[in-house]
Amino acid sequence: MNSINVVPLFVIIPLFSAFFISIVGKFVKRNAVYALSVIPCILLSFFSFNALRLLQSAPGHMLLYKIGGWAPPFGICMAVDAFGVFMLVVVNLVALFICIYSTGYMEKYTDMPKFFTLFFLMLTGMNGLIVTGDLFNLFVFLEIASVASYALVAFGTEAEELEAAFKYAIMGSVASCFIFLGIAFLYGFTSTLNMADMARVLATSHSVFIIPFVSALFIMGFGLKAALVPFHAWLPDAHPSAPASISAMLSGVLIKTLGVYALARIFFNVLGITATHLAVFRFLGAISLVIGVVLALSQWDLKRLLAYHSISQIGYVVLGIGIGTPLGIFGGLFHLLNHSVFKSLLFLNSGAIDYSVGTRDLKHMSGLKEKMPITAGTNMIASMSIAGIPPFNGFFSKLIIIFACVQAGYFGYCLIAIVGSILTLASFMKVQRYAFLGELRQACQNVKEAPFVMKFSMIALAVICVLGGFLLLPSLRPFINNAVDVLIEGAKYSAIILGETAK
């Protein structure tokens, strides 16, 4: 098989697994279903690292795949560049550990094959969104991931979960409508749906009206998917209501792929970034950062607290990207990777506590350190990462964002980033104090540590947290640096795709 054929596999493997599990799942034992769901995840992680290796020798540092042999702009193409590979590695690696964790966590749910079907549909949507080079195809994959996530939020079918899912579904669908309207306007103006071709037409046009209007629609639509602050109301309800492994998936990778990746890809590579866009990104990022963390301080529900921190950390990512200098974007993308690792880990910890103790309320747990040493230890690492304590990965990415703010002369935003980091630290000291340290309660005497598979995932993610800082070494830095170059040299994206297909 030709090596370029790795690109469509990112869609084929999860889609096949989703429907295969839904047929076979009813007839085979639980362990077989677990095996059927872990193997595709391992394959996907392997292929995403394989794509990273292939990219080095690819012409123009772009894996371009013409579906059905039809050349773009007439056919649909898949285009994976350094930014796409970066996201693929993050998404598939985190999905692998969450899938392994789910095999232990989903024991107590009855309809387990359906869970994995929806999980893989969500993964299909995210992988498809990353690899596609066609704007409408992007919308379709976005909707696949969104619809699967609405259903997963309601998976427990209790009153609160249904309420959260309803809110999320309605707001998410309205956001999708805004995105669709933006695509309609762009199609009406450029007469093409291929992103590269669209960028070419927009670059040569002189209309002052179309880009600001479409930008506003896209910021509303993708901003809601990314839970930036004026559009964040659904996230604190939806993320805690899902099963813990799905909360980790939603907070860890879904809001980043559907929100930040799509936003960055469209604004930097298709519409062409302007100073106004960057100012809007910085502003939205900064207010998300502050409001998210301030609201998190007063929460007593562990998962709800973590959900508010997701808003705040997404604020850091968007602030970093909004600075617009290479260093700022580097910090933003590095923080995106780090956040998806430690926020998944934190949600998995909360799931382990929920699994063993049966509560999410911080007031009802105490001194769990003795009974659940591994959960406590990994939670300590993740908390220190998210708060930005030196040896862990979160420290480096926040430091880079703050340096970039100073370098670009945005001292106000720099101050906001520092204050946000201090408040995050305060909030996670509260978690440590109430959940893990202190006296062991009577009610928690018989608590046991979580099963082996759950411990394995948590330890693996904690190791990534500790070692994350090594990505800054010169030999590993191209992994993120090449992704930054894709965004900085935005117009090159369309030139490479159109140049490759012209051959």
Binding site: N5, F16, F19, I23, Y65, G68
Partner: protein, 149 residues
């Protein structure tokens, strides 16, 4: 068609349904098979096929309809439709790349032409027709379970 005379709608509706439901199903199949040479196709045909079953359910009640096509079989067939579409797409690898039309194209406006288009339409109609019916059945069963409480 054995059924409980009290379930469902009046005798007029039942008689008319008995006469038309086969024709509706046949028309749906016609639309699917001619999708590549005339307006229509997998989605439209699939909706018509689903409507014939929904029609049956409205007239005779859910027991008769789910005896024709039970919910388990429906959800399995739906997944089979999706897998079939995916396999046709993957079969394109034999022709060089994903989604390549590997079969003989034939002459235009003949029933067996346009390569894999016909098979794609059949897969889509299976997915849409059975899926839509399964959604309707699920909503009806959900509504019914509430009344028992």
């Amino acid at each position: 068609m054995r059924h409980n005379p009290d379930a469902g709608m009046s005798i007029i509706v039942k008689t008319v349904t008995r006469l038309t439901v086969g024709l509706i199903l046949l028309f749906g199949i016609y639309i699917v098979l001619h999708g590549h040479i005339s307006p229509g196709g997998g989605f439209a045909g699939g909706v018509i096929i689903a409507l014939s079953f929904v029609h049956l359910m409205l007239a005779f009640g859910k027991d008769v309809a789910s005896r024709k096509l039970s919910k388990n079989i429906a959800s399995n067939l739906e997944a089979v439709g999706a897998l079939m579409f995916l396999l046709i797409a993957v079969a394109g690898f034999f022709g060089g790349s994903f989604f390549v039309n590997i079969l003989e194209k034939g002459t235009p406006f003949k029933l067996f032409s346009a390569g894999t288009m016909l098979l794609n339409n059949v897969a889509i109609s299976l997915k849409v027709g059975v899926g839509l019916f399964a959604i309707f059945l699920a909503l009806v069963i959900l509504e019914g379970s509430k009344k028992k409480k």
